[in-house]
């Protein structure tokens, strides 16, 4: 094995700066024949970056971040190979840098600071194995995490699917028992039809014929086979009047303590005229304590015939 270069460099340490000199022939492809060294592997680095036991390969290849370029002077490149450069150091200097022998000028320079010298090839293999093992562990851990998440998601989706299937079965069973509300007629009983008709006439205050027309228009949505004719509406309103008069004698009486002989109502009396010879006398009953029960002025809904 031919050793292309063996150099022992004694570097003067001032503060934390380490100056390294590469006494090697620059690579013919990249380098300038003039002798400026550009191989980053030979560049300056912290010493801990080169510990094969603690540093990984990536760390070794990283920059030293000290902020200076590994450039030496042109003058040094002219030194003959196998030369020894000695630099006189003061007594306080305790740092010695060793530049080991390499097969070629491209091999890594291992620097050791007062430690036992190790062979670069043995450290690299151990590091690689360890690094590979760590990466494998990280990948396995990440893969296990993914699998665990997916397994949980699958379980959740299965639970939800089962719940939906159960509800769908229940809904189907319910549909078999009774038809949907949309298909059921809104007015099923005649009482409801009478109630709607009376509300249209009395509350919406539309005419008898208009009530019949409105119910005719809404017959399909309301589920009516046939809308009541105007005469039917007249009959129902007339019968409502008769019902009101029948109910008048059963009105609950709120007797006043100040007048226990009275029925508790104020009678509103008025006479009105219309076409013809007849004059109409009307008497309405209003609860004497109306304002104690209602916050509004008395209206038609508060009086009784």
């Amino acid at each position: 094995m031919q050793r292309s270069l063996m150099a022992l460099v004694v570097v003067e340490i001032t503060g934390t700066l380490v100056f390294m000199l590469k006494l090697a022939v620059p690579p013919p492809a990249k380098g300038d024949k003039g002798g400026i060294t550009t191989n980053p592997l030979l560049a300056t680095a912290r010493f801990d970056q080169w510990d094969p036991l603690t540093a990984t390969e990536a760390t070794m290849l990283a920059s030293n971040r000290f902020g200076f370029h590994p450039v030496v002077s042109h003058g040094l490149s002219s030194l003959p190979r196998h030369a020894v450069v000695r630099v006189d150091l003061p007594a306080s200097a305790s740092l010695y840098c060793l530049a080991s022998a390499f097969k070629s000028h491209e091999e890594i320079v291992a620097l050791d600071l007062g430690c036992k010298r190790r062979t670069p090839t043995a450290m690299s293999a151990a590091s690689k194995v360890k690094y590979s093992r760590q990466r494998w562990k990280q990948k396995a851990k990440s893969r296990a995490d993914d699998n665990r998440y997916l397994r949980k998601e699958l379980e959740r989706l299965k639970r939800e699917r089962d719940a939906y299937k159960k509800r769908a079965k229940q809904a189907e069973a319910q549909l078999r028992v009774q038809p949907p509300a949309a298909l059921r007629p809104a007015i099923e009983r005649k009482v409801d039809l009478v109630h709607v008709t009376l509300e249209l006439f009395v509350r919406a205050r539309i005419s008898f014929r208009a009530v019949s027309r409105v119910l005719g228009v809404l017959a399909a949505p309301l589920g009516l086979a046939k809308a009541p004719c105007p005469q039917t509406v007249i009959n129902w309103v007339t019968r409502l009047s008769i019902t009101r008069l029948q109910q008048a004698s059963t009105l609950p009486k709120n007797l006043l303590s100040a007048d226990p002989f009275a029925n508790g109502f104020i009678w509103i009396i008025d006479i009105s005229i219309a076409l013809g010879s007849g004059k109409l006398l009307a008497v309405l009953a209003l609860d004497a304590r109306h304002h104690a029960r209602q916050a509004s002025a008395p209206g038609l809904e508060h009086v009784h015939p």
Partner: protein, 362 residues
């Protein structure tokens, strides 16, 4: 509801007596200023069936304004000018400024709308010259004698709007000590010597005494007959056909009262055709008479035959008291009933009112 050719005090009193026999004596009678109704109340009092009488607030306010302004020198001028302005504006580019329609009947109940319109219209006529052909010039030419009534308009609007504010308070909350205080503050806008103000305060004092007597001076005494006026209006508007005869109106009147429920609808279906015929069968509507008489010359006399159908009479309960589900006892005043109670030993035969009175004494 009852229809008759005419309603005298006696006739009204008869109907009220019949109702009192079925439903009991009312706490009070709330009526407008009609003389027949006042006479009926007197008739009832003469027969020891009398009760308190309340005068409707709206009619009282309208009467106060009427007594104050009907003889005002500018009142007739104002009405005439409004008619002229309406004639000039309705077929012009200023038609949007035409006066509102007001009823000539019960004129003072809605005259404030016309007065307010006139006041607003006069605000457009600022003093100063107007360019010939301009809108202001056209408006001035259409105003007739309206600007001369400015004093009447100002006075009437002040009094009418004050009374309207009081009516709003009293109709919603009833007459009580609290609302009387509110109204006193509102009528401060009128001078103390104003007959309108004095009349209104006298009405409040009189009716507040009735409210105190009934124990309603804290909760509020209803003093508005608006529901019955509204009922007449609604029924006349919504009744069947273009011919509004009183008999048909009377049939539909009760249907508009109270709130309707499913139970009412069920009762409607329970009413038989025979029951309906009993009420409506003998009623002869004007439409029916028209169909019978108009195309047949020589049948006019049928309208005056003695056996022609009677008018409608829909009174609560049965005429025969023994058929009525609830029979109320007529009380001839507290002293008479108190004497009767002391004489009667069997409590089961005591009328309901007497039992309550006895319990309250105990």
């Amino acid at each position: 509801m009852s229809v008759a050719e005419s309603w005298t005090g006696e006739a009204v009193a008869e109907v009220l007596k019949e109702l009192i026999g079925t439903l009991g004596r009312p706490v009070a009678l709330l009526k407008d200023g009609g003389s027949a109704l006042a006479k009926a109340a007197d008739e009832l009092s003469a027969e020891a069936l009398g009760t308190r009488c309340l005068d409707d607030l709206s009619h009282v306010a309208a009467n106060l304004l009427k007594h104050q302004y009907v003889h005002h020198p500018h009142f007739d001028t104002f009405l005439s000018a409004c008619g002229q302005v309406s004639k000039h504006l309705k077929q012009s580019a200023l038609a949007c400024l035409a006066p509102p329609k007001t009823s000539t009947k019960a004129r003072f109940m809605n005259l404030h709308r016309l007065v307010k319109w006139a006041d607003q219209l006069l605000q457009h006529c600022r003093p100063g010259a107007a360019r010939a052909g301009s809108a202001l010039a056209k408006l001035r030419s259409a105003l007739d004698q309206l600007p001369t009534c400015k004093a009447f308009i100002g006075l009437f609007r002040r009094d009418a709007e004050t009374l309207l504010q009081c009516q709003e308070v009293l109709k919603v909350k009833g007459l009580s000590e609290q609302t009387r205080e509110q109204c006193h503050q509102i009528v401060e806008a009128m001078p103390p010597s104003s007959p309108v103000r004095r009349g209104f305060e006298a009405w409040m004092a009189k009716h507040l005494a009735v409210a105190s007597e009934l124990g309603l001076d804290t909760v509020g005494l209803p003093i508005s007959s608006d529901p019955i006026e509204s009922l007449f209006g609604v029924v006349k508007q919504r009744s069947q056909g273009p011919i509004k005869d009183a008999d048909r109106l009377a049939v539909y009147l009760p249907a508009f009262c109270g709130q309707r429920s499913q139970g009412d609808a069920a009762h409607v279906l329970e009413i038989s055709v025979a029951q309906q015929q009993e009420v409506m069968g003998t009623v002869s509507s004007l439409s029916k008479q028209r169909r019978q008489v108009l195309p047949r010359p020589g049948s006019l006399e049928s309208l005056f035959e003695a056996d022609r159908p009677r008018h409608v009479e829909l009174l609560a309960g049965s005429k025969n008291r023994s058929k009525s589900a609830i029979v109320s006892t007529l009380s001839n005043g507290y002293e008479l009933v108190q004497g009767t109670c002391s004489e009667v030993d069997d409590e089961g035969t005591l009328p309901l009112n007497s039992v309550l009175a006895g319990a309250s004494r105990a």
